[in-house]
Assembly symmetry: C2
Homo-oligomer: 144 residues x 2
DNA sequence: TTGAGATGGTTGCTTTGGTAACTGTCGATT
DNA sequence: AATCGACAGTTACCAAAGCAACCATCTCAA
């Protein structure tokens, strides 16, 4: 009879690791503890690309459009981003960060990078192989 | 100014990968498509250890006690497990799989292992380093 | 030009998950 | 024995997330 040990089972391990890392990552938001993961992703994506549409944000950050919609509204209420109706296509809106939004982003980024660097440093020589393996798995399970 | 590309950011990548792998894994449940992840974990844990308490299941499968409680009830309603009140300590209950529960488990396991093997095979020589890196990260972020 | 289907985005409904409060039982101390 | 704090498990309540229906606008073709 074939045996399966949950604690060695890859999907379980990925899931568990992902959630504990996300959990720990919350501490990185620093003074902005009420930020959610979707909000962080929208923030990071907009900072990365400047102005873009909600659709494009969703695509880049692998989020469902309702998740994006709600995160955008939350950031808007926080005055971290503004909407501008596109005049080529009035269905879509151009989203971009405000000065306070960018400020918060710049505050978070170094801590985020340090957090990541801490993990990679702990992996030592295993870091590079891990990243390669991740890339392979991402290729096997592409977005949509 | 330090730059962060979301698509290369480790916590994001882990999260994304974990959820797409879980998503794909659902297909493995085969005829039992309505099984949830928490239910699968309870099933797998009980099959692995035989009789045990809800508390112990939660500990082994990294699940909050409410999640365990609900998954146990669902499996009970499906007649895949039974509760027996422990008589040393009447607060806790001994949980164990029924014949149909074990049957379903045995049906799922080979498919689950094949799914995992497929991923590892695709990784080729990167599989072993990945598993080592996973173990290191798990050590860095222990349960509780 | 108008009508049909596609598309960007929002909202309502339902499911799922976490926190905290609760119930019942245990162990220990008096 | 009576009481108090700890503990197993459940439940009630609330926040987060997905699905589907919806609205407004666009595109394209007759």
């Amino acid at each position: 009879m074939s045996k399966l040990a949950l604690e060695h089972f890859l999907p379980y391990r990925l899931n568990r690791l992902s959630s504990v890392v996300s959990q720990q990552f919350r501490a990185v938001y620093g003074p902005h503890h009420d930020l959610t993961v979707p909000e962080w992703r929208v923030l990071a994506t907009l900072a990365q690309f400047g102005t873009m549409t909600a659709k494009a944000i969703g695509k880049h950050s692998s989020m469902h459009k309702t998740k994006v919609s709600r995160a955008v509204r939350a950031l808007e209420e926080r005055r971290w981003l503004v909407r501008r109706e596109s005049d080529q296509d009035r269905r879509e809106e151009s989203l971009s960060l405000t000065a306070p939004g960018l400020h918060a982003y710049r505050e978070i980024v170094p801590r985020a990078l340090a957090f990541e660097a801490g993990i990679l440093a702990a992996l030592g020589p295993h870091a590079e192989p891990l990243l390669e393996a991740l890339a392979l798995m991402e290729a096997r399970f592409p977005v949509d």
